[in-house]
């Protein structure tokens, strides 16, 4: 034991010919007449610049944590009053000063569910076409046009839904679903066009560009050897896509879907304008509802005291959901995410 320790001690102090510890002195400039003589190579301006840039870049970090702290602080009234019951409280009543988040969590889940159900298959179809099937000259323009969907501001989607989508929903889509699925609790009531179904469809349109472009990137990242292997054993284009491309890129596609989900959860304006704004839980998709984001948008101006505090607690819940969803998506997609079209609507 003693011998081993002795050897270890020796190795620490005595290293003949071994690498020397590099000291500050070694990275200093030399040269006889040089002004820089004796100064480290990393001097004045460099350090100032590096630390300035570092300080600025941590600004967003600081801001986000500040936001969390502020939100918890502002929501304390409501947190103290309702505790965990806030999340399952079904009533939002400013007259009695009772607030619960359930109708809005429910509304968010339902609209997001519709959006994902409609948006995901469509987006994967689009991504498949753009990455595997489209003639090369049309790939660029087509992807651009699909991404333009993301550039249209959210409030314009809402305006459009109000005057173009709503009549279509009332006259054809909703009666159609009622005639087939009218016996389920999902399609009860009269079609009015300002309901969870319309909001879900608008959301589906809005998340398509996100999911499609990220999935397309994931599919284009599949090595050609995979495709060639499938083609060489006689697979058709469809089979190649299914076996080689979709299987290989599934984690990227899944991440893209989560990313789209995140957009749908936080989307505010288009939903506020189409969902009908009713603070109640109703299973029928043809009834109006309210999401967390639309509730905040609707009640912000006049809320005070406990109501304001409750609204901020809802924002806190939304923040946590969005954070979880985005972190999950970010892990699934990896660095692909930075290539998400930078032009989103009013998320």
């Amino acid at each position: 034991m003693e011998a081993i320790r002795h050897i270890l001690r020796l190795r620490k102090t005595y290293r003949p010919g071994g690498p020397r510890q590099i000291r500050q002195k070694d990275i200093m400039a030399s040269g006889k007449g040089s002004k820089l003589r004796g100064k480290p190579l990393k001097f004045g301006g460099d350090l100032v610049f590096e630390y300035t840039v570092m300080a600025v870049s941590t600004l967003t970090l600081v801001l986000v944590w500040l936001l969390v702290a502020r939100m918890v602080f502002d929501a304390r009234l409501s947190i103290e009053r309702f505790g965990f019951g806030f999340l399952i409280g079904g009533e939002w009543n400013p007259n009695r000063d009772v607030y619960g988040a359930l109708p809005f969590i429910f509304g968010t889940l339902v609209t997001t569910g519709i959006a994902v159900l409609i948006g995901v298959p469509l987006s994967i179809g689009i991504a498949t076409y753009l990455s595997e099937l489209a003639p090369p000259w049309s790939k660029g323009p087509l992807s651009f046009v699909v991404e333009l969907l993301a550039a249209v501001p959210s409030v314009i989607y809402g305006l459009w839904a109000m005057y173009a989508l709503r009549p279509v929903m009332v006259d054809t889509v909703e009666p159609f679903f009622q005639s087939i699925l009218g016996w389920t609790p999902l399609f009860q009531g009269d079609p009015v066009g300002l309901d969870k179904f319309t909001a879900g469809i608008i959301l589906a349109i809005m998340i398509i560009p996100t999911i499609a472009s990220v999935s397309k990137e994931a599919m284009m990242a599949v090595p050609d050897s995979q495709r060639e292997a499938a083609l060489s054993i006689g697979a058709t284009r469809y089979e190649t896509t299914r076996i080689a491309v979709l299987t290989y890129s599934r984690s990227g596609i899944f991440g893209a879907c989560i990313l789209g989900l995140g957009r749908a959860v936080g989307e505010t304006m288009a939903v506020t304008m189409t969902i009908g704004n009713a603070n109640s839980v109703s299973w029928s998709l043809l009834d109006p509802g309210q999401t967390m984001a639309s509730l905040i948008a609707n009640n912000w101006g006049e809320a005070q005291g406990l109501q304001l505090s409750a609204l901020i607690e809802i924002a806190l819940v939304l923040f946590i959901i969005a954070l979880l969803v985005n972190v999950l998506a970010r892990i699934m997609v990896g660095r692909l995410m930075s290539r998400v079209p930078a032009t989103g609507g009013g998320l």
């Binding site: 990393k42 301006g45 460099d46 100032v48 610049f49 590096e50 840039v53 600025v56 941590t58 600004l59 967003t60 970090l61 801001l63 986000v64 500040l66 936001l67 502020r70 939100m71 298959p121 469509l122 179809g125 689009i126 076409y129 099937l133 087509l142 046009v145 333009l148 969907l149 550039a151 249209v152 501001p153 959210s154 409030v155 314009i156 989607y157 809402g158 459009w160 173009a164 398509i208 499609a212 058709t236 284009r237 995140g262 959860v265 936080g266 989307e267 505010t268 304006m269 304008m273 984001a293 905040i296 948008a297 912000w300 924002a315 939304l318 972190v327 995410m337 930075s338 930078a342 009013g346």
Partner: protein
């Protein structure tokens, strides 16, 4: 059942289905653009573009103050967001090979896809409530700049990564200090990408509505002061979309047309200039190649 014909048929069907998805997604885009032009164009006139949104529903009103408000918001937001975003990108790309760099990058990626209403709440908590400025132009600009920062930072980082390493090494080998290398070599050579990212970020924040609802609020008057509520195009649409008054509805559609023109011009312009740039650089490269090959 698994005959060649059957598989071929399945292939054709699947291809058709994929194409149908693309067409289905393009219908709303065309429909929205057409709708906004058709309904918005009749509203446009000189008085409309210079009048103010009095909100009474009388004829002769316009969206002038909303246009100015949006321009001011975008200007102030860019003043804050562009430098911070670009410097963040510089840090992540040039000095970010450490834990802090990874964290900042991660946070920017997450923030880039964050619900904008929550970002609006940040600006509300910070500027409106904490600094006690009240609903104001500057609060709206802060909210928009927070949305802008991750977009600009990510594109700056990408742009700096595209700059060939030999340029950086060349500058350093000549004895140029590192910070001057970054400012004079890296940023200058990556400027195309940075400008692109900045313009896209501006296009994005021009249409943001939810954060403004929480921060800048609205004003039907001409207002240029940073500490007063200000009108904006998206909020004009939101306030009037459901109005029974024909005039106010016209304002919403007119504002939508102006807004979409701004956003699409920026997007398409950036896209086209980017394509021309890549074409040009390719041409330059081939010219050099032929010149060099001719020499030996």
């Amino acid at each position: 059942m698994n005959t060649y014909e059957y598989r071929k048929l399945k292939n054709t069907l699947a291809s058709g289905l994929a194409l149908a998805c693309v067409i289905l997604a393009l219908i709303p885009l065309v429909y929205i653009l057409a709708g906004v032009v058709v309904k918005g164009a009749p509203a446009l006139s000189w008085e409309f573009l210079t009048g103010r949104t009095a909100g009474t529903g009388e004829p002769g009103e316009g969206i002038g103050n909303a246009i100015v408000g949006t321009l001011l918001l975008v200007f102030y937001a860019s003043m804050i967001g562009l430098p911070v975003g670009i410097l963040t990108g510089v840090y992540v790309s040039e000095y970010g090979n450490n834990k802090l760099g990874t964290t900042v990058r991660f946070f920017n990626d997450v923030l880039a896809n964050f619900p904008s209403i929550v970002v609006g709440l940040l600006a509300y908590a910070l500027v409106v409530a904490y600094l006690n400025v009240g609903f104001s132009l500057i609060a709206g600009a802060v909210a928009l700049s927070v949305i802008m920062i991750p977009i600009v930072a990510n594109t700056t980082e990408e742009a700096l990564r595209m700059v060939p390493n030999s340029l950086r090494e060349g500058a350093l080998a000549l004895g140029v200090a590192r910070w001057r290398t970054v400012l004079k070599v890296m940023l200058v050579n990556g400027r195309a990408g940075i400008v692109t990212g900045s313009l896209l970020a501006i296009a994005r924040i021009a249409g943001e509505t939810a954060p403004l609802l929480l921060t800048a609020f609205y004003s039907s008057y001409w207002s240029f002061s940073p500490t007063e509520p200000v009108a904006s195009l998206p909020l004009t649409i939101f306030r009037n979309y459901n109005s029974p008054s024909e005039v106010l509805l016209q304002q919403a559609w007119g504002a939508a047309l102006v807004l979409i023109l701004i956003v699409l011009t920026l997007n398409i312009g950036v896209r086209l200039s980017m394509r021309q740039k890549t074409k040009k650089s390719k041409a330059v490269r081939t010219r050099w190649k032929t010149r060099l090959s001719r020499r030996d």
